[in-house]
Subunit: 470 residues, 3 copies
């Protein structure tokens, strides 16, 4: 017998009646605010072409590493879950894959995935029964029908979700053709890009040399000279800004920065280009480029985001068979205090530069990030990220950051997702957790209710708008 | 005037009425479940000989490092607490030692020791007054009487505690004579061993060469050759499995693993045997042996437990005077992401291997352990361990692990104790904390009650049964 | 329209009615206890001269790095906030500076600064309206009037605050003239010094050689020889003890200790004096001096405090322009387990030595500090410090430390402040948080109410009194 799917209106609020009452009141103020999504990984082609999405498996299961990593950890094969490999698309029957997911809902108990999916199923897809083995077919069929309808096309959903702005992330080697098409289409939806130059900065990336070639072609610069390489970045940044970009994004293994002299930088760059570099050289080059990017941001005004601390593609077998980004990235301890110092020595006191820091290492919240952001004018803290984009994770973020950095050195929520349909769910979780955290401060008489009300509006809307210059 | 000893039936549950009500309901479902104790350090001789235990001091004080380390930290001498040294047994009068403990109950306020001991005193020994200076003699006398009775013999207590299975831990150099005797006795109690090869793997252990000799004798293999050494492990593992073992246990200073070629391994082994090795060699050998043990587990099916991150015998004076395991071990920061990679590269994607990870470094829960266990099929997370086997520690474990790894990549509770009489108390604490944690998810509408009910049964019984193949 | 300033009598207590009721009861027991402030940085000249304090800006804003670092992080210049630089005093108009602070109260929402300041404004200054743009002038004027009155002179406030003892911190190169003047004055207020020898121990400090010269002059010893240098420390310690010192304080970048032979120490010292030393030498010298200080403490009985783990003057520009201690210190990950071992090997088991450890790295609470203090007789844990001297920080301290170290290896609260008027507020926060934490243990049936009552008295008064030998 199937079980009812219930989205309780008090979900994520404390059970304490006093705190819950305040949380409700604060949440009510902002629950219908438009969504600002200044950092994410949706595909701009969806909004350019506005084609219908495919099956439930193609939309929800195969692209969502939160889901298939959990199933993989319990012994299911990625191919059987609809995940394509280097050999080509998955050979699994989408319905069969879906049934594996349906039959393993217990694995997701207590995870944010469970909350996000229930929100999507209940609120967006209209189900009133939970997904399980008994409802798997009904879900698969009904989702397929809905996705084939006009109301579930990308642009229609974008509008229904009340998204004011959505940023995608592209490499300098991307032509941004989809963004151009969106702009040319006359559609009112604001979809902008963000400049993520990792592929032409990380000399250890397997496609580095191929990407450099494209970088040269698109920029028309001699990217094999240090000057030309920097000029190419400036040109592409300008073009990205034409396509709406207000920020850059940098996903490095560490937070290391460097501030070499011009001659040292050029010598290092020449080693990189000659292919005669050590792993330490590659790390130093990434470090130097963060400082170069900050220098460019001072000129062109792009807000800079640093996302360090992930050991990418940790599972060697999966990397070889399935490629990158298959749920095999594992966080690393990250040092911000020493690593950021060269960049901060150079630009830390600037008033017209914003650098947003993220972490996968929660130990840095109270020890490093809050003290740094609570002092340096250029620094702001991004929200709890990736594995920590969750009720407990968000709560720890506020608990460990606020007392030193306050609320106003943070920048609101990022959904950071490829899972387009989960965007409202994710923002809703963040809004509820902020409401609940502020409510605790209120009922413990650490904050006045009217100040909490102003704060939650700022967290939801004004802070991201300002930090990302939207 | 003595104070009443009260074991409140709601202990460890939140004071919030809604959460408490759900916690009660969940706890009621499993409070009488039999105890599975798949990892611990009780003495098999107790169950083999079934002799009466000694005095209160001998049973509770002298062997319990939680207790005497706290008293030692406040200036009491170990000898005065009944703890034997290298020079021989303690010269203290047991009753006098007991009175020191009795007079210092305030030191244990807020510690799990206080809860465990009150449970033992109230539930198992039948006291209704608290231990303090005024009741010290009464306690000492009454406990002595009880321990001299048939009802308090090891096997009777085992049955009274409703223990379905109890694992001890032995070295490959142990003859397992007590386990053989238990099996030969026809007693129904299931006491099994576990294979802990540290003494013949850690070349830096002071008894390494002596232990190798015994290892040779018991296995009949040439343990001084790499092939013979591995063969000896295989033989002893087989024999341990005859004595009920379903798991191995590895207590290394770090989580380092290695995957050397056969020739490299042999060369390293030869340096170890020749006694011509550096500290780095010893570390590399321990690292390589974890991978060898995983390889053997693939063949014989033993579940593997890795307990890294303790600086053993940190107090040099105590080590020299009293020897090992005298409450002087201190946790170390532990890196799982880099250290486990060689083993994971070799066997991380196997479906017929289970490796259970423990930590003394809570920072690894959300940063490393949950992401690793939430991806690799072979990895599961052991419960919060040792210093963290406590209400706050267990709660942090669930809060920091569940959102990424779920409940189903964990393996239920381990009491990990030498303190036999505290086993029911420890399992009761774990059950209550799990009930309370699940109850919070329910009242915050993050989990349905019926799912919580299924989950707590799994945490209490089904998950340890599966992970340890009981 | 201005907003009412309300100090709710239940502030910082849980909203749960049961817990709150117990917290109230526990807090009532100790809220009027006298203040012991055994570690802080107030200026003894205040109490020696008993002159009136200056304006609101001079008293509250310009010297308080918690306040101006937050404003600086949002783009305000330090000079505009009244903070003096190397070029001289701030050129800002104090009233204008005050208005910046007044207009930015929202930045402090959720921070301890907000609670401390509201306590000062409401309780000590008698305001019933909150500070904001509309009340900035009124505040500035009224505070100026009050500070000009006799009732707000340092000694009058000291008495009004019910301070039983206040320790300041001075360098061996300080003549302690203010302390001498206080003693000579016949005033009853107990203001004592503490021995902080960092300036003559840290060879990397820019004033090291100048300080050594003063050290030589004041001690009359040949501080350029190892023997004379140690003798100078002993002499100055004796003099500090005459001026009431019961403790030393050591603020090193790491917790590193060393136990070199006499010859090695002397050779190291000679390199330091010759100015021919590496950064590693300077670190080793600081490490060795902690052990030397412990050795002296064994003789003279001074309690030793170690405050490691701050990257001082992280902001190079501010350091060059404004100098030290301008809110630019950032915590560092700190290793206690390896770093303290040499000192612990030498003196860890002494019964007549107390070493109090502090940290800015909260990850060490449960992993390192509680296990160390829960074992070694000489070790005690100082309260949560600096960035963690806050409701959440204090709560984490108790949650993460108590289960392993108990309450009785901690030493009560330190306000550690230069902000004299905030001392009652800070102690009040600590007392409330302890009451609230103990109340939770009581309502979760983990501690009896009568034991909690005894414990909070010990935390508030008896433990600091004993640890600091007051």
């Amino acid at each position: 017998m199937s079980k009812p799917l219930i989205l309780n209106e008090d979900r994520l609020f404390s059970a304490d009646p006093a705190q819950r009452a305040v949380a409700r009141e604060l949440y009510a103020l902002i629950k219908d605010y438009p969504i600002l999504s200044p950092h994410g990984h949706t595909d701009p082609q969806w909004f350019a072409d506005n084609a219908n999405f495919g099956s439930a498996t193609e939309l929800f299961l195969a692209p969502d590493h939160y889901i298939y990593r959990m199933l993989y950890s319990q012994g299911y094969d990625l191919n059987d879950l609809g995940v394509g490999s280097k050999a080509g698309p998955s050979t699994a029957d989408p319905r069969t894959a879906w049934k594996i997911f349906a039959a393993n809902q217990h694995l997701f108990r207590g995870t944010p995935t469970a909350m996000w999916m229930n929100h999507v199923f209940g609120q967006i897809m209209g189900f009133d029964k939970r997904l399980d083995e008994t409802t798997a077919d009904e879900y698969f069929d009904r989702i397929g029908e809905l996705l084939a309808s006009d109301a579930y096309k990308p642009r229609a959903l974008f509008e229904r979700f009340n998204i004011e702005l959505l940023a995608t992330t592209e490499s300098p080697t991307d032509t941004l053709e989809h963004h151009q098409k969106i702009r040319a289409s006359g559609w009112k939806g604001r979809v902008v890009t963000a400049y993520r130059p990792d592929p032409v900065i990380d000399a250890e990336h397997e496609d580095f040399r191929d990407k450099l070639k494209v970088f040269a072609d698109l920029s028309g610069e001699d990217v094999y000279s240090w000057k030309g390489y920097l000029a190419a970045h400036r040109k592409r940044r300008d073009f990205f800004m034409e396509m709406g970009a207000t920020s850059t994004d940098h996903g490095h293994p560490t937070a290391k920065t460097a501030n070499l002299s011009g001659a040292e930088s050029e010598a290092l760059f020449n080693r990189i280009i000659a292919g005669e570099f050590t792993s330490a050289d590659a790390e130093l080059f990434r470090a130097q480029m963060l400082t170069e990017m900050a220098r460019m941001s001072l000129d062109d005004g792009l807000t800079m985001q640093i996302h360090p601390g992930s050991f990418r593609n940790h599972n060697q077998t999966i990397f070889e068979t399935f490629g990158r980004d298959k749920g095999c990235d594992i966080p690393l301890a990250t040092d911000y205090v020493n690593d950021l110092k060269p960049l901060l020595d150079a630009f830390g006191n600037e008033k017209n530069l914003t650098v947003i820091l993220f972490t996968l290492d929660e130990t840095s919240y109270s020890r490093e990030l809050a003290p740094l952001a609570g002092h340096y004018p250029i620094l702001k803290l991004g929200p709890s990220w990736w594995f920590h984009d969750s009720p407990e994770g968000m709560t720890r973020f506020r608990e460990q950051v606020t007392e030193t950095a306050g609320f106003y050195n943070t920048v609101g929520f990022n959904d950071d997702t490829r899972a387009f349909l989960s965007i409202p769910a994710r923002h809703d979780v963040a809004r509820r957790i902020d409401a609940n955290f502020l409510a605790r401060l209120v009922v413990e008489h650490r904050l006045e209710l009217e100040d909490a009300a102003e704060t939650i509006k700022d967290l939801t809307y004004n802070l991201p708008k300002a930090a990302y210059k939207l």
